[in-house]
Amino acid sequence: MQPIDIGIVAIVLGMAVAAYRILIGPSSADRGAGADVVFYGFVGLIALLGFRLGTDLVVDIVLVCALVGFLSALSVARLISGGKR
Amino acid sequence: MTYLLWVLRTLRFPFYFGFEVVKTTFVVLYDALTRGSSSTPAFVEVPTRCRTDFETTMLANMISLTPGTVTVAVGEDSPVTLWVHSLYVDDRASFRADIHTMEDHLLAVTRPRAGVPSRPTTAESTERGER
């Protein structure tokens, strides 16, 4: 174990909590919010992995994540509003 | 001179906003992680001084990025009106004032020459402020 693993555990735990929010809802919007949080956790985790694995390749990946992750958030929002723009 | 001030304002801006975010983050987290809740939520109509899409977007995003507040809707008029959901609303006027403070900081950056215009104070909004 390394100190950074505390952070990794924290983020994974946070993702699990958010997943639980997705499960319990109660509204579609809540689920959507939960999904957003999971994704942010994912981005954070990749950054932490960069530290853990000792590679700055993750920087590019983080950038890509930031760019595209938002698409899923917008899509889910679009679903919640029934396709209403 | 104006330009130099603008540069300084611009440099100060991230720190201002960062501090706002950190502050509100802790306020909300305290609320969330302790028993019970002190929140007094409301959807507030906030008239702004934003003229360009960029300004509108920046302001709305700053509101959204600040924990405790989120922009729900954007109005059509220019300057635009925002509808903001906030967890801690005492009354309309004070909440709008908070937002306008944030707006001041923003416009100070986006309008290097014109500077920050005065806050809109309409009779209607005052009226609404009374609960």
Partner: protein
Amino acid sequence: MLLLTSILVLAVTVLSIPLVERVLGRNTGWFAAAVLAALTALIAAQAPQVLGSGEALTYSVPWMPQIGVEFHLRMDALGWMFTLLVTGVGALIMAYSTRYFPPGRRLGFYLLMTLFAFAMTGLVLADDVVLLYVFWELTTITSFYLIGLSGPGASRPAIRTFLITALGGLALLGAVVLLVVRTGTTQLSTILADQSWTQDTSFTALVAFLVVGAVFTKSAQFPFHYWLPDAMAASTPVSAYLHAAAMVKAGIYLAMRFTPAFGEVLVWNTALIAFGLITAVVGAVFALQQHDLKRLAAYSTVSQLGFLIAVIGIGTPEALVAAAAHTVAHALFKSALFMVVGLVDHEAGTRDLRDLGGLARRMPVTAGIATLASLSMAGIPPLLGFVSKEYLFAGLLGAPGGPWAGVLAGAVAVGAAAFTFAYSFRFVHSAFFGEPRGKRRAEQEDVHEAPVAFWGPASLSALGGLVLGLAVPVLDPLVNGVSQDTTGTAAEAHLLLWHGFNPELAMSALAIGLGALLVWRTASGDSYAGRALLPVDGPSVFERIHSALISTGRRVGDLTRTDTVAFHLGTPVVVVLVLATAVLWLGIDIPAPAGQTSRPLDWLLVGLMGVAVLGAVLTRSRLAALALIGVAGFTTALWLFFLGAFDVALTQLLVEVLTVVVAVLVLRRLPRRFHPVTRKRSALTAVIAIAAGSVAGVAAFALTGRRELSSAASYFLDNAPEDTGGTNVVNTILVDYRAFDTLGELVVLGVAGLIIIAVLRSTDLLPVHQARKPSVPVTNPVFEAVPNTVLMRTVAKYLLPILVVWSLYLLVRGHNEPGGGFIGGLVGGSAFALTYLAASSDAAARIRLAYPTIIGSGVLVALGTGLLGFLEGSFLLPLHAEIPLPGGEYFHFTTALIFDVGVYLVVVGVLLAALNELGLESGDGTDRAAPPPSPPGTSGGGNADETAPSSEGSGATAAGVDTTTTGGAR
């Protein structure tokens, strides 16, 4: 050579029929008759060699040497006799047919009749068991069609006949296969001469049993006899030829042919004698019962075939002599009688004995023919039928199994012969003599004799019986030859009309006497006819079995007759589980792991995956399930990061995001919640699922990670940079080493885009589901699309260039660092997704690019790169070039990069297709009409599954129009 000539002549005749028939119409019969008559003469001329010297004619040419099958032909006395019957009687029937049918085209009939003659000739000449079987089935097939030619009413009888004879044919096939495998040859004469297999009693009995099956069905032996009367639905020439003279004799031929092998096999003797005699009696009894002349003739044939089978079953040389003689006799009289039936039917307009009578005055010649043939059939001297029946009796008296057996067989035969006499009398008397009867009495006044061309062939056949009866010794060489061929001993029989007082004569007399008594007691059968003797009849038994089989089949089909996808998916899963259990049960030795495959942090991912999967399983909300599966997908991507697969992880991530983007386009058209299932089903599913998961886990644990790095992997890690100029080994595998996989993959992706477009152009999309319509009035500022999307549009404006630049950067650098065409394409595609999502209206969102063209171009670019490889010798071989850069450095260029551009284009094209085809609502590009504000109770409280039909229809139309303005296929 003669054999080949005969076969070829017949084959050519068949092939020429379509031309000849075009010219001659129904008179094609003359042509066919001429050919057959010439062949008859030709074959008859071989008598000196075949019968005289006893040397068979042979011919052979290889056919299917791989399974030892040769085109062997052989003509011994037996073959000679049957060939003559086929061609001779065939000639007569063909001639007869020219007048039987009204003027007009008869292509089908003559084609099939000549084909039948060909098949039958081949059957009796074949000296290869496989060839024999081929011709055997060919006779069945032609028979089927010939019956069916008679119109809709004949279709069931034809099918019944076909199936029952084909069943026998398959028994023959079984016998053939057994013999071929056992003896290692397909040559019939060799097999029959081979003594080795006949020593194995049970094997011989099995083969004999199968041959008996073939014989009985083909020659209409009890209990398969019923097909023959059933087949009388056929036209009379067909019946005369196939169902009297030729095809039914195939069974007789086969039985005689196999006598050398089975003559001493008990099961053979017993079956043939017992069933033959039963058939003789049953046939005769039923014949007397008939009102229909044709059915009478048919049952008579059944009966006579029974006699023949029984006597062949005796297996002695004498018996075989009798069989040979009676075969000839029967062919002559029965074909004549059938032709008479046709004459009567034709001229008098009916075949019903109740409506006939007294025809002799109107049709004296026909009456004469009928009388002559019937006398032969009844066994009255001096006709051939008398002689042959005498020999039949003599043969039967020699039945094996003790003296009582012979007596019993003789007694039964006499009984059958008595009935034979009776129905023969009935045939002639009721039709031609006495007064006209029945409904058609009046019309019979107009009846007159048929033209000579019509009755000529019949008369020849009938006279044949008389001539051969009088000159019966002529047949001596033939019958002795047959006896030699079938039993190995020449009987040295001398056929005589009169050979003194002997038991056979007494039996004949007794039979005639009893027959006369029967005629008298039953008013020549009238009082006895039409009564049901058995509670069941053949056709209805057949149909009952047939429909039982069909309903069994229906039940078998019902096992899988469901559109429930879970059933079709569950079956393979369960099969996998069963087999996996078997493997686990047997157990396999597994080596120790080759390294430390687990690390502590991994458990975090296990836990996260557990949460996501459990949630996805438990939830009934579609959105939750999608999101949680997305979480599982991200966790998978994290796993890939943990495992050092950065390219893959990035791809997984992008795919996950885009899957979500596409999925929500779909989800909004569906109810919020999943369809409910019963608790019981969930429990069962859970059991299957847990078992499947365990199996997968065990397989992953036991069968992976237990070997060192593979040699291929070492090769890639050691050589990729030199081989390809790239340091991202995964990417070099994708675009260099295994570019073919990638080409396939990109074709798959491109096709997915095309079929999404194609399917949606042939089908309507569902409308947006009621439950998902906004519940906010249009007057609310939240509802306004344009101002509310300003935020995303502004952000998108800045993001888009970054996305595009970044995607190209990823594309170019892929060979050395994580990236490549696919990842680049996905990022580039995201730009379009963003454009779509951020637009304030569908019109603004529509991307007016011809995405099928983009997809196709991508495939072409990748393929083109592949083809360039041929310049250096192989498809998809990347070419390399060092391009000098201004700074004195070199850029290592490889066509793999162009290949990646193809990949990029396809990915972008497909994403465009999905977004445009699935994402846009209506063709005019405007926002959907604002939905009415729905009270909270209905918007969410209603049945999630229910979609009002009207709204569905309108929505579907709106979505359907979309196809007119999207894409570039037009």
